[in-house]
Symmetry: C2
Amino acid sequence: MSINLLTYDNLKIFCEAAFHRFGFNEHDSAVITDVLLLADLYGIDSHGTNRIVMYHDQIRAGYIDIGAKPLIVSETPVSAVIDGMSGMGQLVSKFAMKKAIALAKTSGIGLVTVRNSNHYGIAGYYSLMACNEGFLGISMTNSLAAVVPTFGRVPMLGTNPFAFSFPAVPQPFHFDASTSVVTVGKAEVSGKTGKALPVGWGINADGYDELDPSALLRGIYAGTAGLHPLGGGTEEHGGHKGYGFSMVVEILSSIMSGGTTSNHVEKEEGKSGVCHFFAAIDPKIFGNPAVIQNKLEIFLEELRNSMKADGKDRIYTHGEKEAESYTRRIEEGIPVNEKTVEEMKDLADYLKMDFYRYFPELKI
Amino acid sequence: MSINLLTYDNLKIFCEAAFHRFGFNEHDSAVITDVLLLADLYGIDSHGTNRIVMYHDQIRAGYIDIGAKPLIVSETPVSAVIDGMSGMGQLVSKFAMKKAIALAKTSGIGLVTVRNSNHYGIAGYYSLMACNEGFLGISMTNSLAAVVPTFGRVPMLGTNPFAFSFPAVPQPFHFDASTSVVTVGKAEVSGKTGKALPVGWGINADGYDELDPSALLRGIYAGTAGLHPLGGGTEEHGGHKGYGFSMVVEILSSIMSGGTTSNHVEKEEGKSGVCHFFAAIDPKIFGNPAVIQNKLEIFLEELRNSMKADGKDRIYTHGEKEAESYTRRIEEGIPVNEKTVEEMKDLADYLKMDFYRYFPELKI
């Protein structure tokens, strides 16, 4: 499959225009685009502009209410519960994390749970919002069920990502990962290579490990097959632990918000019901933030400098790969595969946008 | 190896007496014993009474100061930082979680970080303290380095367990697990069976997967080999995610307390430096606790009732196995292997205790 390099600026202008034509105002279109493009810049290709079409489908399916305003259902000095009112996940989530940060500024900590929202893009966008204020940021979301509990065979949990960011130099500690062994997006990418999946990624409707990527994906969308939690399908390698971390995300997001658990997400007409959890914590409540940050930086450096496994020349700390991808892609452009370009072109035609005016680099 | 069934009551009286002879007062001896015996009752044999000898060794090595009183270094309405003053981990930790619960009672949430403590037993004991008050409880600790970062070959992180408990009927949701693929204790148990370890558990000084359990354990204690994080030694199965969760534990415990990171634990004369993190959150800050608990109970039941993988007749929710083990072991006794019985007998001789007076069931 051929890969096109698109510039950040052109993608941004196209994306903003597309969301504007979906019906979002200019401000909201810019917010949504910023979340999607950070995923592209960070190298998380499954959560970037290639999802425009998915969001468009969800708007047309009635899951996403374009004009919705999130509602603060209740709040205390350290917490808030927000009803997303079926709004776009990125808009609801930016609103919610802003609330968490505002609470942390006055109380030292802010915990915000959100119900009745939608797919919010990369979890890490929101934890970084807190991090950019000098705070510890945490972000989690449940999602359409795609993961089986240990010893189960039908999806009951979302890939339930967890993100945790804390300020550091040269880049923040930034951990953003699904609590499943892989994301649905990664199984899709593997499907395109034509190779069999590794044992331990997913289980099929017959209750056995599924090695055929397209069969696994079909099963996930049909609700008859699922990915395993982090640790795989056995207790021997700790699958029950990944299942546990997935439950932590589920409890903090859907249970604590009075929302919809993953197994019921997108099961109701006109409502997806996705739930989130956000936390912002001012490190000042534990001591001098500069001293704390310095301690973390020393430890991160010790990790990077420690002895490497055979054949490996580098140990990463979380956030390094993202920071390096960001720099490279701003300079060199964002790789977008042929299929996504075609989808974007079809979307542009549908929206009556002149595709090649946005991407002159793609003109033949 | 033969297994002896000892009654809870006899083990409790023996344990309390042994800790009393180590120098702890009666109250403190009872607290320590209660933590160890809950592990035994829950079936977590690696963290129960078989650790008495380890604690005795740490006292003699000068890591544990028997008379130490934990010191509150600083506090806010939502947080506290505690210096364990090299006290016994269980005593420091019970004090710290009590503080977190007290903060949660007035502020809705209490976060407590602890530095300069010692091995605290099972993480879940403390999260359950909060749970027993109707709160969400979280407990984490760093520990002696035994886990390598992804692509590393020397231990830099502890097994860094994470526990999360929330009230539910018929038993709390109770997740308590190391963030490594297995604990050191589990590798020890496998060593006793004589079988090779599975690929993905640990790496040796040459930088390759180590399948010989005794070689791996020697390497861990020598600091030249280590366990892999949850997800194993590759990114293919998400080892970098387990590494990330281990970092979350490390940052919340050692970095946020101004303490000692795992790679420096037990590296200093007379100080182990273990750090903990405790959180108690009143669900009232998010809504009606009874409604929240009911929502969780429904979801747990849906999980247990969902379709099973081939050859499996049961899906567990976290805390079920522990609750069932508890009931069974109170009734039938706690299985203690021959080696542990011998160690306890040697300890009794050393402490001038009449071993068979405590355990008449063991008299030949």
